[in-house]
Amino acid sequence: MGQCLRYQIHWEDLEEYQALTFLTRNEILCIHDTFLKLCPPGKYYKEATLTTDQVSSLPALRVNPFRDRICRVFSHNDVFSFEDVLGMASVFSEQACPSLKVEYAFRIYDFNENGFIDEEDLQRIVLRLLNSNDVSEDLLTDLTNHVLDESDLDNDNMLSFSEFEHAMAKAPDFMNTAGSNSICILVMLKVASRSLWVGLGELQMGHD
């Protein structure tokens, strides 16, 4: 049984996990407990891994429509080590800072993993949210067009991370921002495309 190897966790490791994640000590121990119950008995927790299916069947993720994406984003080589599970719990905990949540939310929503949320991604998000595959085409296209109209600022039909962050800034409970912060994010977006100008400038002047 896992009984005798119940608390394999070292003191320093526990302190380190507590310092590096947004979880409290009790939560880390709880996760440790659950992890040991699921992994094959007798194995040291640092070497044990869980498959994506095992993690997907955890109560926290069982009914989440995005569980496959979540597992994909937080796992390495399709398996979860203990630290991966901790990382996932940390991002989803209540104390996590909103910027971290936005960061991972972007990765989760990027279904085709091209670094952008494009129309295909948006359609898949909506299908997952509605939990059915028989959604009218009109609804899907309408919705994706509206989302892109609202959030796509540089008109490339995709949402980059900055645009996503800016859109999330408007949600009152997602990020606690006032109007002035949205200006900062807009400036960031603008500056992002500046590098192209520099590149072309070098190109034109034959600059080495």
Partner: protein, 801 residues
């Protein structure tokens, strides 16, 4: 454990799919190579690139080129080299790749350290607009390798305190293993020896952790229990899931009203009802027996109780010498605390109203702040799509509820946007306006008719006084008022069917407006009837008790009529509509129900001065109403057929509660306190000219009391009785409001300017990409043309990377 994001190998050829920024090893590192080749080739060919101009002009000039590079199906096809450059652009790698994250955080911590230095503008000579701020995308003149950036980051971390290091690392979107490595590297050179405690935890630590785990489980269970205590939490979720957020907003408003009434009731109970109940006055005559009619009529047995104003004494309670207010000296007992009832009555009512006013204004501004953001009237779709899933949900039925809720929300959103009709002709618009004017005229005429009816009926009631055995006639006025309040909205709804509005939201607002005008005007007539006519008519009786009883009767009749309306308007109508008309269930009329709630609350606020326990009656009424309405909704109604978003409705409801309703009640209260002579037979103000005089008498008493409390009379004379401070405060308030408006205007302007710039830069980007593509194409063609054998293999090798 290496941090590697698994990117599936796409079966499509590289030419039509941009490489993911996760393929870091394949990223083209700099422009240098490309530029070298280009300049070389340009020198050879003598080809001059056209001069760059920002934006659309140049884009138009290169339009011809743009067309030529459209691949099959109109999709732009970029060469692999261009794709590699694109993949390494900062906008595509912010937070995406490990190198970019590390570089970003390095820059951030450097900036934290070097706060004084300003960003360099010389690099940005090419930009169309001078920058406002440079964020963490400083353009390093030297593009460092990832390892070097990592070393720099570690050095930066070492410069921070341990807590700050941890804080920075916690917020970084890297895997835990990566963070541990960084932390280790940042910590070790500092010379702190790692506490070596190898092996498993000792027994007592194990025990500690077992206790901690058990406590944690207990805490979780308590929290979930607490969640269940929040009133109606699950019921509200069900309603929201099945009927949408608009119907839910009605029930949330009901809950808010409950809170307001509780807030009003507490000081009244503590400072007025409690002390008076503890020291009851001497009974005047025998109390009549309790018959059931008191619940309806409010008189009889209830007359001489804490429910009404007349019961309260005008003396100082708990003082053993019975003396009037103007302080005859008598020695109070050592243990008693004298309680000045009139003063307490006046101040408590005033304080309760003041607190309610503050809470109302605060909640109105709070909900306004939540539903309105600078420069973001849109954005609801994105937020709904990205933020609406509550990841805490763990039960299957709860997730099904969420799916339903989201589906309804999305449909509501889209329905709002599907109101794009073609532009109507002038004739049609004129006709529409004429129809609108006619309907408004009819509605206002109906309101006038109702007002005149109530006025004449009230005058008739004054002319013919009611004798003791005809108490049922006391219900006549409330009955007439409630009937008019019930019938007129149906008439308005019928008239509104004539005019066809574009948006359902506008329809609802117009209906609310009309109903509100009717209710407020009728209440105004009633207030005039009470304070103007009844006071004169009941000179030698306790008119305050009468007014209190009238308001109680109105409230009870209002409740009865609401129940009847629910019964007939929803249940019977559903039966008729399903069996006879075959039309399906009726819709839940939100506007009418909300206005009924506001009307009831206005009655409570009007009556508090004359019947301090009226908020308790209102609380009971609201509790019963919630369950009745919920049951009727679930059984008889369906979700609104034209769903509309209720995001601003709660703001509107609270504003309506504040402005006509609370303001009217406050005006009524002020007039009653300052201008009307209280009756001389009953109540705490029987010997005074106005109710406010109790305060004045007390201030004079304080003035005589001595110099110790002289600041209070001073405040009273110069700040309360003087009008100048009010002007000053109003002027300050106006100035603050004006400043805020200007700030918001400025922010909105800046945001629109920046958005314009961003879309311009987006166009620039497209132009540049096409230019790059053109350059490469030319290069490939010329290379291919020049030497086929010598150049092709290296080009192949480079492309095949």
């Amino acid at each position: 454990m290496a941090f590697v994001l698994n990117v599936p190998e796409t079966p499509e050829d590289l030419g039509s799919q941009e490489p993911s920024p996760c393929d870091e090893s394949e990223v083209h590192h700099s422009f240098c190579q490309l530029i070298q080749e280009q300049s070389q080739w340009a020198a050879e060919e003598g080809l001059g690139l056209p001069s760059m101009g920002p934006g659309a002009g140049a884009l138009g000039a290169s339009g011809g080129h743009h067309q030529a590079f459209l691949g099959p199906e109109g999709a732009t096809v970029y060469s692999s080299a261009t794709l590699r450059i694109l993949a390494s652009m900062p906008s595509r790698t912010i937070g995406r790749s490990r190198g970019a994250i590390i570089s970003q955080y390095y820059n951030r911590s450097v900036r934290l350290r070097r706060r004084a230095s300003r960003p360099q503008l010389r690099v940005l000579g090419r930009s169309a607009w001078p920058s406002l701020r440079l964020y963490d995308l400083e353009l390093d003149s030297v593009t460092l390798e990832e390892e070097e950036k990592r070393v720099l980051l570690v050095k930066e971390l070492q410069g921070l305190a341990a807590a700050q290091q941890d804080h920075l690392l916690r917020g970084m979107p890297l895997s835990l293993a990566e963070k541990r490595c960084l932390r280790e590297e940042a910590r070790t050179p500092r010379g702190k020896p790692r506490l070596g405690r190898p092996g498993l935890l000792s027994c007592c630590s194990q025990l500690r952790y077992a206790c901690a785990l058990a406590l944690h489980h207990l805490g979780l269970r308590l929290l979930s229990g607490l969640h269940a205590l929040v009133p109606w939490h699950y019921a509200l979720k069900r309603i929201g899931g099945q009927f949408g957020s608009s119907v839910l907003s009605y029930f949330l408003f009901l809950k808010t009203l409950l809170a307001f009434n509780a807030l009003l009731l507490l000081p009244l109970l503590a400072f007025i009802v409690g002390p008076q109940a503890a020291f009851p006055p001497a009974p005047q005559g025998s109390a009549p027996a309790f018959t059931g009619r008191e619940l309806l009529l409010g008189g009889g047995r209830f007359n001489d109780t804490v429910l009404y104003y007349g019961y309260y004494s005008n003396a100082t309670l708990n003082q053993w010498c019975a003396g009037p207010l103007d302080g005859s000296q008598c020695a109070p007992e050592a243990t008693s605390l004298p309680y000045n009832m009139p003063l307490a009555y006046l101040f408590t009512i005033g304080a309760a109203f003041f607190i309610t006013c503050l809470t109302l204004v605060y909640s109105m501004s709070h909900s306004f702040g939540e539903s309105y953001r600078v420069g973001s009237t849109l954005g609801a779709h994105a937020i709904t799509v990205f933020c609406s899933w509550d990841h805490k949900v763990t039960q299957k039925w709860a997730s099904r509820l969420q799916h339903d809720n989201i589906r309804t929300q999305l449909k509501e959103l889209l329905a709002e946007w599907q109101l794009q009709r073609g532009p109507r002709s002038l004739c049609g618009r004129l006709r529409q306006l004429g129809l609108l004017g006619l309907v408004w005229l009819l509605c206002l005429g109906t309101t006038l008719g109702c007002t005149v009816a109530v006025y004449s009926f009230s005058e008739f009631l004054i002319e013919s006084p009611v004798s003791a055995n005809q108490e049922g006639l006391l219900l006549a006025l409330p009955l007439v008022v409630c009937l008019l309040n019930l019938g007129a909205p149906y008439l308005y709804r019928g008239l509104a069917a004539l005019e066809r509005h574009d948006s359902p939201v506008l329809e609802v607002y117009v209906a609310i407006c009309r109903n509100l005008i009717l209710k407020m005007v009728i209440l105004g007539i009633l207030c005039y009837h009470w304070l103007g006519r009844r006071v004169d008519a009941l000179q030698d009786q306790c008119w305050e008790n009468f007014v209190g009883q009238e308001l109680y009767r109105l409230m009870v009749m209002d409740f009865i009529f609401t129940l009847l309306d629910t019964l007939f308007g929803e249940l019977v109508w559903r039966l008729i509509s399903e069996k006879k008309l075959k039309r399906g269930k009726p819709e839940f009329d939100i506007a009418r129900n909300v206005l009924e709630l506001i009307h009831g609350q206005t009655l409570t606020w009007l009556g508090v001065l004359f019947a301090p326990l009226l908020p308790a009656v209102q609380i009971l009424k609201l509790l019963l109403l919630f369950y009745v309405k919920k049951t009727s909704l679930m059984a008889n109604c369906q979700a609104p057929r034209r769903p509309w978003r209720a995001s601003h409705m709660s703001t509107v409801f609270i504003s309506l509660l504040c402005f006509p309703s609370f303001l009217g009640a406050a005006i009524f209260l002020c007039y009653a306190v300052w201008q009307v002579k209280p009756s001389s037979l009953c109540g705490p103000f029987r010997t005074l000219d106005t109710m406010y005089e109790a305060g004045k008498v007390w201030v004079r008493h304080l003035e005589r009391a001595g110099p110790g409390v002289s600041w209070l009379p001073w405040i009273h004379r110069y700040l309360v009785e003087n009008t100048f401070p009010i002007y000053l405060v109003s002027a300050l308030l106006l100035a603050v409001i004006y400043l805020n408006i200007q700030v918001v205007k400025g922010q909105r302007k800046v945001i629109s300017l920046l958005k314009e710039q961003i879309s311009n830069e987006g166009e620039d980007k497209i132009f540049l990409i096409n230019k790059l593509h053109a350059v490469y194409e030319r290069k490939e063609r010329s290379r291919g043309g020049r030497t086929q054998e010598a150049v092709m293999p290296p080009a192949d090798q480079r492309d095949a990377q």
